[in-house]
């Protein structure tokens, strides 16, 4: 089963939910936790452990100066402005390159071939028994989030139970993470911001055909607007976590609620069972 944990709004507590869910499930069966928030990964802060890292690369063009006659066809073909052809040299801007292979195809002299270029890393670790953590980290300033997300998901493709922590928002990295998942948990907070952004996230999950369930985090008991929205849209509120300074303090220090207060494991396990039902997986 592939489960994503997402939210429209940032800071609602996705990582807290993914981390605690993975911790709880790992008490009974093997689970892989994948950090797909590759711009700002933070699950490794909850599960510090020695990791093996591998580079993630994308193919980028390299021009053979002995064959190039500076005709400029590659510059014209590139939709992203990654190639600049001057009178006597070619400048290539890797952060603009989408690795589409277009320039390589159009060069009339066959002067361009592709070489791998690093855009980030994948770190894999086993912080505890039954738990594998795969974190994608995009090199700072590099805009290629999607290829790293593809790569970390690929690392977990053979694992039976996978939880993907998603970037906040609703753009390409989120779509890439949610695609192919059997269900997703949308974490929201009971504020107008949370609800506004929840609506966007529900829309994305819907477009991708991924069934969604809701977790309300930091609830102050005044969740009516959110509850109404969920009822209107046939969404189950699978768990509500109250706002509590102690819980907040545990989180901010990179500790796990389920580890510090084991009574919470029951709640997270119940959440896991609800996700399985949502995904249509019998347990």
């Amino acid at each position: 089963m592939r489960l994503a944990v997402a939210s429209g709004k940032g800071g609602t507590g996705k990582s807290m939910v993914s981390a605690n869910l993975a911790f709880t499930v790992s008490c009974t069966e093997p689970v892989t936790l994948v950090d797909c928030d590759v711009e700002e990964p933070n699950l490794h802060l909850f599960f510090p452990a020695p990791a093996t890292t591998t580079d993630v690369t994308v193919p980028v063009p390299v021009v053979d100066k002995t064959l190039c006659d500076y005709c400029g066809r590659c510059e014209d073909a590139c939709q992203y402005g990654a190639m600049t052809v001057l009178r006597d040299r070619i400048l290539f801007f890797p952060e603009l390159c989408h690795s589409c292979g277009g320039c390589t195809l159009v060069c009339p002299k066959g002067a361009i071939h592709e070489q791998p270029k690093r855009i980030g890393t994948i770190a894999t670790s086993s912080p505890r028994h039954n738990l594998k953590l795969i974190s994608g980290m995009l090199d700072t300033g590099d805009p290629h989030a999607v290829p790293i997300i593809k790569a970390v998901k690929e690392q977990a493709v053979k694992d039976p139970l996978v939880i993907c922590d998603t970037a906040p928002g609703t753009s390409c990295p989120v779509v890439e993470t949610l695609a192919g998942c059997d269900a997703c948990i949308l974490v929201t907070e009971s504020t107008p911001f949370g609800l506004h952004d929840l609506q966007l996230a529900v829309d994305v999950a819907d477009r991708l055909g991924v069934p969604a369930g809701i977790v309300i985090n930091r609830s102050d008991g005044k969740d009516q607007a959110t509850l109404e929205f969920c009822t209107d849209h046939d969404l189950e509120v699978m768990m509500t976590i109250p706002f509590d300074r102690e819980i907040a303090a545990i989180q901010s220090r990179g500790n796990l609620l389920c580890r510090q207060k084991p009574e919470w494991q029951k709640a997270f396990f119940a959440l896991f069972l609800k996700c399985s039902t949502l995904a249509g997986v019998h347990r």
Partner: protein, 295 residues
């Protein structure tokens, strides 16, 4: 005009709430922009009245004409983004996956593929108590949020360039929309929170900001939820020569005011409102100093 962007690195630190409060407190004339186009919330606190909207066309997407398609499959073979699928009697591009590279159009032997702009969002120009607000909506899943941010900023600058300050509510993260937000901005205020993730993301976003020429300032929101971590952040800022100009306590009045659709500084005196007032006066000092330096 001085351009000020409020950003955060980590999401959910309270930058929108603080931007709305600053809009209410700054005495000068303003134009406002919400550049968090993936999840634009500033309007929830400013009660905007819509004046007009404009469609936003993202990058071009490939479109295959089924009447010309000879079903050779070259397009699918060359597409690196899994954006071409086989339909009943022609190939078809999946718009959500298309990155607009035009390779398929190049390799198609039947010239059946053209590149067409797609509407992927909408830009809104609205009136608020404190000045015009430019905000936008992106079709969920669409790319080019960076370009939409640029379009939002451009509209604000075109219509309201005579304002004293251009106040921007920025997006979280360090990707294209953030970079597009801080490009050409004079002062960047980073709102962080006292958590390990918050500090981690603060460092990352500062590294990105340093590639530009903006003045960097930091404020810590909900600082009393972990005072030791707040000290760590303060220490780091001091080592990095980054002024820490605000420390706002956790305050339930903030959520109440958000629910009522107003900035916390409009909801009476509260610890958070007071702390934001102090932040605002220090910010004004910084902005005046910046203006003096420029002239």
């Amino acid at each position: 005009m001085i351009r000020l962007a409020v950003i955060s690195g980590k999401g959910g630190t309270g930058k929108t709430m603080i931007t709305a409060a600053l809009a209410q407190l700054l005495p000068e004339s303003l134009v406002l922009a919400d550049c968090d186009v993936d999840a634009a919330n500033l309007e929830l606190l400013l009660d905007p009245k819509l004046i007009y909207t404009e469609p936003f066309m993202g990058m071009k997407s490939a479109v295959i004409d089924p009447t010309l398609c000879v079903q050779c499959g070259e397009c699918q073979e060359h597409c690196r983004f899994a954006a071409v699928e086989r339909d009943v009697d022609a190939y078809r591009v999946i718009p959500l996956r298309c990155e607009g590279c035009a390779v398929c159009a190049y390799v198609c032997p039947a010239t059946a593929i053209i590149m067409q702009p797609r509407q992927t969002g909408e830009i809104m120009y609205s009136e608020t108590k404190r000045g015009h607000l430019v905000h936008a909506r992106l079709v969920p899943g669409a790319g080019n949020s960076g370009l939409l941010v640029h379009a939002v900023k451009k509209m604000a600058l075109e219509h309201d360039r005579d304002r004293d300050y251009f106040l921007i509510d920025g997006p979280p993260g360090t990707g294209c929309p953030l970079i597009s937000t801080i490009s050409g901005v004079d002062v960047v205020l980073i709102v962080t929170e006292p958590s390990i993730s918050g500090l981690h993301d603060l460092k990352r976003v500062v590294a990105v900001c340093r590639q530009f020429r903006s003045r960097i300032l930091v404020a810590v929101n909900r600082f009393d939820l972990d005072e030791a971590l707040t000290d760590t952040i303060q220490q780091w800022c001091s080592e990095e020569n980054i002024p820490l100009i605000g420390k706002i306590p956790f305050d339930p009045v903030v959520i109440e005011s958000v629910r009522n659709g107003v900035p916390v500084t409009e909801a009476g005196a509260s610890p958070a409102a007071q702390a934001i007032q102090i932040l605002e006066s220090k910010l004004e000092q910084e902005l005046r100093h910046y203006r003096d330096q420029r002239e």
